[in-house]
């Protein structure tokens, strides 16, 4: 049996005392949310924090709400809730889709959106989907709050801009412009409990149904130390009609935008091929979603 090292467990009563606590304990403390990552790492002896801080009593971290201009998700919302949310399926289907393929049902019932972000795993499911819609996170400390775009949040595997005294409190999704669609596809060796060999999240915004592309984000995951943009693929799609031929060309360019490694899950060359396939499929599905939405609203 794998045993946990000793630590002290704290449950601050509200956000203010949580922030005080993090300010005084700093690197000696880690926040435990769902525990699906931190408990594994502690059992394996990779980390051994002196204090675990649970924010279970800080109610404001558990909401998933529609705001005037978008959706705000508390950092402690569990992944199952994202996968079950009609609000997300309607407005940001790629995020709900990414949530529905994370880990296993048992993991999804504990793992949280904030946890999937702060652990900064190169193959995590939610960050690419969130980045494709330009998500921001709110970080709070005793000294104040700041908002950071996820694009600028990750520094490398396991490394982020979050300071030891800060708490990731919410994820902010700004309302997407009309005629937007997206998709997330992960390739794994099996269908559950899988870490991506490659995953791609794409989001397009057209000027009108069947129109030209006004904005596009293609996020490639598990092919670099952190999630990256397929920069040249995004570039040739701008202000063009998303024809099959153009999507094919963009997908080929996406292969050159990534620098995968060979490891136990797949070779670098294979990963590049898959980047092409998944870029093509996610883009085509994203465009389809725009046109499908339009049909619905006309009814």
């Amino acid at each position: 049996m794998l045993l946990l090292p000793k630590f002290d467990y704290l449950e601050p009563e509200n956000m203010r005392s949580a922030l005080e606590l993090m300010a005084s304990l700093k690197s000696n403390a880690k926040i435990i949310a769902g525990g699906t990552d931190i408990i594994v790492n502690m059992k394996k002896g990779i980390i051994s924090p002196k204090h675990l801080v649970s924010l279970v009593k800080v109610k404001e971290l558990f909401g998933l709400e529609q705001r005037k201009k978008g959706i705000v998700i508390g950092s402690h919302v569990i992944v199952s809730e994202l996968a079950e949310s009609n609000l997300l399926w309607k407005n940001y289907s790629l995020i709900a889709k990414a949530a529905s393929v994370l880990g296993s049902p048992l993991v999804r019932n504990r793992a949280t959106i904030g946890g999937n972000i702060v652990t900064a795993r190169p193959a995590a499911d939610l960050p690419p989907a969130l980045m494709a819609v330009g998500a921001k996170v709110e970080l709070k400390s005793k000294k104040g709050r700041r908002e950071v775009a996820l694009d600028e949040f990750f520094l490398g595997p396991g490394k982020t801009v979050i300071r030891p005294d800060e708490i990731l409190t919410k994820i902010i999704l700004n309302e997407l412009p009309p005629f937007s669609g997206g998709d997330y596809i992960k390739l794994g060796h099996r269908k559950a409990l899988e870490i991506a060999i490659v995953a791609v999240a794409s989001r397009v915004t057209l000027d009108k149904p069947q129109g030209i592309i006004k904005n596009v984000r293609i996020m490639l995951s598990a092919v670099a130390p952190q999630v990256i943009h397929a920069v040249s693929a995004e570039k040739i799609l701008m202000n063009e009609k998303p024809t099959d031929k153009l999507i094919e060309r963009a997908a080929t360019l996406a292969m050159q935008d990534c620098r995968p490694i060979s490891d136990i899950r797949g070779g670098a060359e294979y990963r590049k091929e898959i980047v092409k396939v998944l870029t093509k499929r996610t883009l085509a599905n994203a465009v389809k979603e725009v046109n499908r939405k339009k049909v619905k609203s006309e009814r």
């Binding site: 049996m1 769902g34 525990g35 408990i39 880990g103 049902p105 019932n109 504990r110 409990l193």
Partner: protein, 163 residues
């Protein structure tokens, strides 16, 4: 330092003092002697430690007992009604869906949760719902068939109750 917690396990209230570094699996097995919950990998991969925590099946090896304070927990011991097996348990026996039995408590709890949310699951939905529970004996086919049979039995009995 030990913390006092309250757990509601299979509709029974327990007040216990636990060290923060003990998992829910450990406390259920060692303090409450509920040995039906198994520990397999201890890392959230195998699902042998599955319990239903506040309505959702979870890996109890990845839950600190202190985190479960105040929660409602169902373990395999709380599934049967008196002497009669739950329809999912009965179907597992009838279909030979149990071989060594180590994964069975977790399988049954995941299946029970599924059927409470979705009374008519497709084969794919059954496989998906059980995807966090690994079985090294059966090859899954008999387990999936057992869950589908249980779905039918449960429908019949609930229909009878209503009528």
């Amino acid at each position: 330092m030990k913390k006092m917690i309250t757990l509601f396990v299979n509709d029974k209230e327990y007040e216990i003092a636990v060290l923060p570094n003990r998992t829910l699996t450990q406390v259920l097995r060692e303090d409450l002697s509920l040995l039906g919950t198994k520990e397999g990998c201890g890392l959230g991969d195998c699902g042998a430690c599955t319990v239903i925590l506040d309505g959702r099946p979870v890996n109890s090896c990845l839950v600190l007992a202190v985190q479960a304070n105040g929660s409602q927990i169902t373990t395999i011991e709380g599934v049967a009604e008196g002497q009669s097996l739950h329809p999912v348990q009965q179907a597992f026996v009838d279909h030979g869906a149990i071989q060594c039995g180590f994964c069975t408590p977790g399988m049954i709890l995941s299946a029970k949760s599924l059927l409470e949310k979705n009374a008519h699951p497709t084969e794919l939905e059954v496989r998906e719902a059980l995807s966090g529970n690994l079985c090294r004996c059966t090859g899954y086919q008999k387990i999936v068939e057992a869950v589908q049979t249980a779905a039918k039995t449960m429908k019949k009995t609930s229909g009878r109750k209503r009528g």
